[in-house]
């Protein structure tokens, strides 16, 4: 119990206070307890090596959950066959994780699991992600889990070792920021459009040093998948974490998941406890930002940083700096002209930002009864085996394949382009992922970040286009 627990506290402070093993002093950071440690193949091998060098064990395998996603191919392969890894190094990396989890008794959602998938998709899907938890992973998009009222953030590999060995992290208390999105969003505006607008507003470093709480009518109206999309991209504004208060939407989404209590008194008690994880009236924040959500339109990025979002048909702004001028040159866009109309080579629908069932439904609604434009390659990559099965049960896979898109196995795919899925030099990719950095999707590849609906519309039109033009069903 915090000594000043009578004071109104923010959601972030409540979770922070409840996990202090030791409070910070001038000389030393706080020791923060970690409830859930998510592990994947890319940022863990060097941490397991340190444990081996020092003769340490994983302290809480039961609080550790592993999957394979970044280096894994998304191509089909027959049971009994070896996965078609893009490189030997990728195969070795996955096998290293398999050996490490076996040695330390950690649950791995590997090739044979019904829940294999992108780490930030499967945590919530299993119900491992819960309100009030501290959650870390060697991945900057860990903030995704903050959608459930958890404090979730990315850590480096050295820290992965710390958590494996001690279940604790050394942390200074971050500052807090509340971003309130007032008013409802217009029809056809998605969570991705909201977060791209937020990042454009506060800048790529606007949240540095902060934990952001997203609030307001436009946030409360989002489903859990949309809230995950918003929190996911907090790091693209430089923030450590993003959080949203737990509410009835949260509880309904979690009910019946594998790692939460089933119905009855245990469930009711759990919900009562989770309901605590919202900011008290009068809670204070170091920074407050208010954004008029009614003005947000379908967004696309024009540059090589995620804060370059503009409305899809708005003119690209004049370069404000040498870095902006360089970005315009790289993207081959012209100031004063909109991004809409730009010819598209590839479309990627997937990633920890936008690979959940509602994302796929939004893309399918646009693609249904239509064809991907000639010369465009469209990849649809579900976030997990669970999402893939759900989509197939709803017939979404047939909509995609009949339109001419590729329906892939789950993984990070073309978001990170280290698994065989990538863009070619000079290609323009409309992508539902989170980063448009130079070369992020392959050397020389140009990335336009957008929502699933906008990406699907680009695949059909063959150029960037306002998805509203395709939101009426196609004629049969």
């Amino acid at each position: 119990m915090s000594p000043d627990s009578g004071r109104p506290r923010s959601l972030f402070e409540k979770v922070w206070d409840a996990h202090l093993v030791k409070t910070e002093t001038t000389e030393t950071p706080a020791m923060l307890y970690v409830d859930l440690h998510l592990v994947h193949e890319v940022t863990s091998p060097q941490a397991f090596s340190v444990l081996a060098e020092r003769g340490l064990k994983v302290r809480r395998p039961d609080r550790t959950l592993a999957t394979i996603d970044h280096s894994t191919p998304t191509l089909d392969f027959a049971p009994g066959e070896a996965p078609p890894y893009a490189t030997e190094a990728a195969r070795k990396q996955v096998e290293t994780l398999e050996a490490n989890v076996a040695e330390h008794g950690i649950d791995l959602h590997g090739w044979d699991s019904e829940h294999r998938g992108v780490v930030h998709v499967i945590g919530p899907e299993l119900g491992a992600t819960q309100p009030g938890m501290t959650i870390v992973c060697g991945d900057s998009h860990t903030a995704t889990h903050g959608a459930f009222g958890a404090l979730a953030f990315g850590i480096g590999t050295t820290e992965v070792g710390h958590v494996l060995a001690t279940q604790c992290l050394l942390q200074r208390k971050p500052k807090s920021m509340r971003i309130t999105l007032e008013g409802p969003t217009a029809p056809g505006v998605s969570a991705k459009d909201i977060i791209l607008a937020v990042i454009a507003e506060i800048g790529v470093d606007g949240g540095t040093g902060c934990v952001i709480e997203y609030a307001g009518e436009a946030i409360e109206a989002l489903d859990m998948e949309g809230r995950m999309t918003v929190c996911n991209m907090s790091i693209e504004a430089g923030a450590r974490a993003g959080m949203i208060a737990a509410d009835a939407t949260t509880f309904a989404w979690l009910k019946g998941r594998e790692r939460v209590p089933s119905e009855g008194p245990a469930w009711d008690e759990q919900v009562a406890q989770w309901s605590h994880y919202r900011s008290d009236p009068g809670a204070r924040f170091d920074h407050e930002v208010v954004i008029d959500a009614t003005r947000i339109r379908p967004m696309v990025t024009w540059g090589t940083a995620p804060d370059t979002g503009i409305a899809v048909d708005a003119p690209v702004p004049d370069a404000r700096s040498a870095s902006h001028a360089k970005a315009l040159g790289y993207m081959q866009f012209e100031a004063g002209k909109p991004v809409s109309g730009a010819k598209v080579d590839q479309v990627f629908i997937g990633s920890c930002t936008n690979s959940r069932i509602t994302d796929l439904r939004a893309a399918a609604a646009i693609m249904s009864g239509r064809k991907v434009a000639p010369g465009v390659r469209a990849l649809v990559v579900p976030g997990s085996v669970g999402v893939r099965k759900q989509a197939e049960a709803e017939g979404l896979d047939r909509i995609f394949t009949e339109a001419g898109a590729e329906w892939r196995q789950p993984g990070c795919s073309m978001c990170i382009a280290m698994n065989g899925d990538k863009g070619e030099p000079g290609q323009l990719i409309v992508s539902t992922s989170n980063r448009n950095f130079e070369g992020r999707q392959g050397p020389g590849a140009r990335t336009v970040l957008a929502s699933p609906a906008t990406a699907a519309a680009a695949a059909i039109a063959g150029h960037v286009i306002d998805p509203a033009t395709l939101m009426e069903p196609a004629h049969a």
């Binding site: 093993v21 030791k22 000389e27 030393t28 950071p29 020791m31 307890y33 890319v42 940022t43 091998p45 060097q46 090596s49 340490l56 302290r59 970044h70 280096s71 490189t87 190094a89 070795k92 990396q93 290293t96 060697g138 991945d139 900057s140 990315g154 850590i155 480096g156 590999t157 050295t158 820290e159 070792g161 710390h162 060995a165 001690t166 279940q167 604790c168 050394l170 200074r172 790529v204 470093d205 540095t208 040093g209 790091i235 430089g238 940083a305 700096s321 040498a322 870095s323 990170i416 382009a417 280290m418 990538k422 030099p425 980063r435 950095f437 130079e438 070369g439 992020r440 050397p443 020389g444």
Partner: protein, 192 residues
């Protein structure tokens, strides 16, 4: 285990660009390694090599003597993007021992400090001076938390005290955490 960091006198190398992200520092396709060693060749890879992996001419990073140039100076918001610790591993292996900017991304900054790469936040006037005066010899004193710019506006910098302690001792905080096993157990017992 990183070397102890006390003082450093070296020439600066300036990259005049803002928002240098971790995909520029080391592209993701090289992250399939299971080692932390030898990543210096991959630092700023796509700026330094062509599509066939041949070093590009006219790229000053390829001609840089890192024995004499151990301090990287970069535009605002250096190290944004991913949490990959491969970024400071690559920069350290390349030869850098300090990075100076007016703003450094959170996760990169903590990763750097744990790997013998001192992150230094410079005030606007000193940062502007360093950007405008490339390739100058400067001195960093971590114990005094001071950077001496010679003819330029020397400045004091802030660093989290425990990160400073670990850099100066060349230690990793893992030992600090494992030594507090009793507190961790007490916390777990109280919460159970």
């Amino acid at each position: 285990m990183p070397d102890r960091f006390t003082t450093l006198t070296s020439r600066t190398f300036v990259i005049d660009q803002e928002d240098i992200d971790t995909d520029q520092i080391i592209p993701a396709r090289f992250l399939t390694t299971t080692s932390r060693e030898g990543l210096g060749d991959l630092a700023f890879h796509d700026w330094r090599y062509d599509g066939d992996g041949k070093p590009l001419e006219n790229v000053s990073l390829n001609a840089l003597d890192t024995q004499t140039h151990r301090i990287l100076v970069a535009g605002r918001n250096f190290g944004c993007g991913s949490s990959r610790e491969h970024a400071p591993w690559a920069l350290h292996d390349f030869g850098f021992r300090a990075v100076i900017s007016s703003e450094i991304a959170d996760i990169f900054r903590s990763n750097a400090a744990r790997n013998g790469l001192l992150p230094i936040l410079a005030p606007p006037d000193a940062h502007a001076w360093l950007m405008e005066n490339p390739d100058v010899e400067i001195s960093v004193d971590l114990s005094k938390q001071r950077v001496d710019l010679g003819n330029g506006p020397s400045f004091d910098f802030k660093i989290e005290p425990f990160a400073r302690h670990c850099l100066m001792e060349g230690t990793d905080p893992l030992g600090f955490l494992t030594a507090r096993e009793d507190a961790i157990t007490a916390y777990e017992t109280q919460r159970a």
